[in-house]
């Protein structure tokens, strides 16, 4: 009797999980369905689960439509996301290592000042940051879109926590071989820390690719639009065909979904390592 109930409970739980999983996939399904349909199919009064005519030409149409600068926006997003990732990881890992491993009297104060910025989220400072960037003349430039976002206290914190637990014997051996801090860092520490670099890089890349408020404020000219700003402009203006908008959105998240699925274990490790919950 008792056993039977447990089995019923387990089956119910499995059914509930499957239902939730399907619900979670509905938005992705809509993206693909509408992205590959004709305009008439999308707006048809009776719902079809799959488009009556799968229109693969949507994929090429969206890149050739002159009113939607998708190719250029994708290029901007790629440049911005790659340079943001590279810069953030370089700066934050060096700082994290210095804070974790180089004894210095003021290190505690510096670390508190860095953590303090977490209390003032970047989004709240977007007005003053906009003021600063515009007075530097960086509006609608790659510099303005990238440089102010390179200093992530969050990434620095993750690196510091990781380097605190880095096996000291390896560094000591390097020291005995006559390597200073700089060469120890590049020859011993970095090559032996690939998982944490992978984790932070992936998280930063996804964040930079998906960022919206900062690119919206700074990338004002169409030349400087990221893919998010381009999509948003057409979502809110509603002057574009639906099938084009959906296929553009699908194209914009496809590379990310691939990266995400391939590197998921690093992301999970990074989220867990953030140590905020400890």
């Amino acid at each position: 009797m008792h056993h039977a109930w447990i089995r019923v409970g387990r089956a119910l739980r499995a059914a509930l999980l499957c239902a939730l999983a399907l619900l979670f996939l509905v938005p992705f399904y809509l993206l693909v369905r509408n992205g590959l349909a004709t305009e008439a199919d999308i707006t048809a009064p009776d719902w079809t689960f799959f488009p009556r005519h799968v229109q693969w030409s949507n994929l090429t149409e969206v890149f050739t439509d002159p009113s939607l600068p998708l190719g250029h926006a994708l290029l901007n997003s790629t440049l911005i996301a790659l340079s943001t990732t590279l810069g953030t990881v370089l700066l934050a890992s060096l700082a994290g290592y210095g804070l974790a491993r180089i004894p210095y009297r003021g290190a505690g104060v510096v670390f508190s000042a860095i953590l303090g910025t977490l209390m003032v989220p970047a989004a709240v400072t977007f007005v003053p940051s906009f003021v600063l960037v515009s007075s530097l003349g960086w509006i609608s430039t790659l510099r303005g879109l990238v440089i102010p976002t390179l200093f992530s206290a969050f990434a620095c914190f993750i690196f510091r926590q990781y380097f605190l637990g880095f096996p000291r014997e390896l560094e000591d051996a390097a020291r005995v071989d006559g390597l200073g801090y700089w060469r120890t860092y590049w020859r011993i520490v970095v090559p032996n820390s690939r998982p944490v670099f992978a984790a932070v890089s992936t998280i930063v890349f996804i964040g930079a690719w998906n960022a919206f408020l900062w690119p919206l404020v700074i990338g004002q000219d169409q030349e400087a639009w990221t893919v998010q700003v381009a999509l948003s402009t057409f979502t809110t203006a509603q002057n574009l065909n639906l099938h084009e908008l959906f296929v553009a959105a699908a194209v914009s998240i496809a590379p990310l979904v691939v990266v995400f699925l391939l590197l998921q274990r690093y992301i999970v490790a990074g989220v867990e390592r953030s140590g905020i919950d400890d």
């Binding site: 999308i42 700082a95 970047a122 408020l213 992301i267």
Partner: protein
């Protein structure tokens, strides 16, 4: 050596360092490892400088601007004292943006908390296909708010007949609903809250899964010996209390993120005619005040300072109240 750095240096490092120094001093140049403060700043300097320049300087500048009448200028001369603050705090639109935030938090924090915890508990107990389900629930994290808002606005909760929600309700004979423009009842909240719920539930599920895996199996064995039934009783007396630290962190992050909400509100609600007068959270309000047609940077800066103060105070109070860092017993 001061206390904060001491934690970074486990046992005996000081003594070892001194011995090393003696051994190395002869022949070590300007950049030798004994120049610790120099090396510290080579590693930390660029990051610290940039962070100061792009966080502390704008904040300070913003405080300065907030005391001036700064329309369209960042070097104002017209000092107005606390004028911007008083007009901000008496502005009905600003106050109602704080009300919008409060209401949004009231919906999104409990909803995300409950859903992500439930997902974590269910996924954690799976013996098959655990990785698959984890991926499915985590996958929306890769999606941007812009793309999600696009799907919600133009397909899922589209106000016209071919929207999915209206289609499904139509099968049951219900009328079409203009989800985003109906204010009585305020259906737009359903659209706004479900976007964020879908996007972030998987992220918090991962945090809870990590927390669940840290609970010692012996606790469950002991509970079983004591006669606790698996299921609700075990969850209430073992799992939930053991997740206390994770819960505190999750609630803090949820509130901070809700406070910064902008992307989904902007993309769901604004259209060719502009942004409707309702459902404007603080950042949307600030965006239109500081960067809208008037470019009132003084007023916008005052708003930013007020918001920064609110979030700092709220974080500290919440951390105290929820007992962040308190030892689990």
């Amino acid at each position: 050596m001061t206390a904060p750095t001491a934690e970074a240096l486990p046992d005996g490092q000081g003594a070892r360092g001194a011995a090393e120094r003696r051994r190395r001093t002869p022949g070590a140049g300007f950049f030798g490892p004994q120049r610790r403060s120099l090396w510290f700043w080579i590693f930390v300097g660029p990051f610290a400088l940039g962070l100061a320049l792009f966080t502390y300087v704008p904040l300070a500048w913003s405080v300065y601007l907030s005391f001036f009448d700064a329309h369209n200028t960042v070097t104002p001369t017209d000092f107005v004292g606390l004028g911007n603050y008083t007009s901000m705090l008496t502005d009905g639109a600003f106050l109602s943006s704080l009300g919008t935030f409060a209401l949004f938090t009231l919906f999104i924090v409990p909803a995300t908390y409950a859903l992500s915890l439930a997902l974590a508990v269910m996924v954690n107990r799976l013996r098959v296909a655990q990785a698959f389900f984890r991926s499915v629930f985590f996958l929306p994290t890769a999606c941007s708010y812009v793309v999600a808002a696009l799907i919600w606005k133009l397909s899922l909760f589209s106000g016209v007949r071919f929207g999915l929600a209206n289609t499904v309700l139509g099968w049951f004979g219900a009328d079409q609903t203009a989800w985003l423009s109906t204010t009585h009842p305020p259906w737009y909240w359903l659209v706004i809250v479900t976007v964020r719920l879908w996007l972030q539930a998987g992220f918090y599920m991962i945090l809870f899964l990590a927390g669940l895996q840290r609970i010692s199996p012996q606790l469950y064995e002991a509970a079983a010996v004591d006669g606790a039934r698996p299921g609700w009783q075990t969850f209430r007396h073992i799992t939930f209390p053991q997740l206390r630290a994770t819960s505190v962190a999750v609630v803090l992050l949820l509130v901070i993120n809700a406070f910064q909400a902008f992307d989904e509100f902007y993309n769901l609600l604004s259209d060719a005619r502009g942004y409707p007068p309702y459902a404007r959270p603080p950042l949307v309000y600030l965006y239109y005040t500081a960067l809208g047609r008037e470019q009132n940077l003084g007023l916008g800066s005052a708003g930013a300072v007020i918001l920064a103060l609110i979030i700092a105070v709220a974080t500290v109070v919440q951390a105290r109240w929820l007992g962040l860092g308190r030892k689990e017993d």
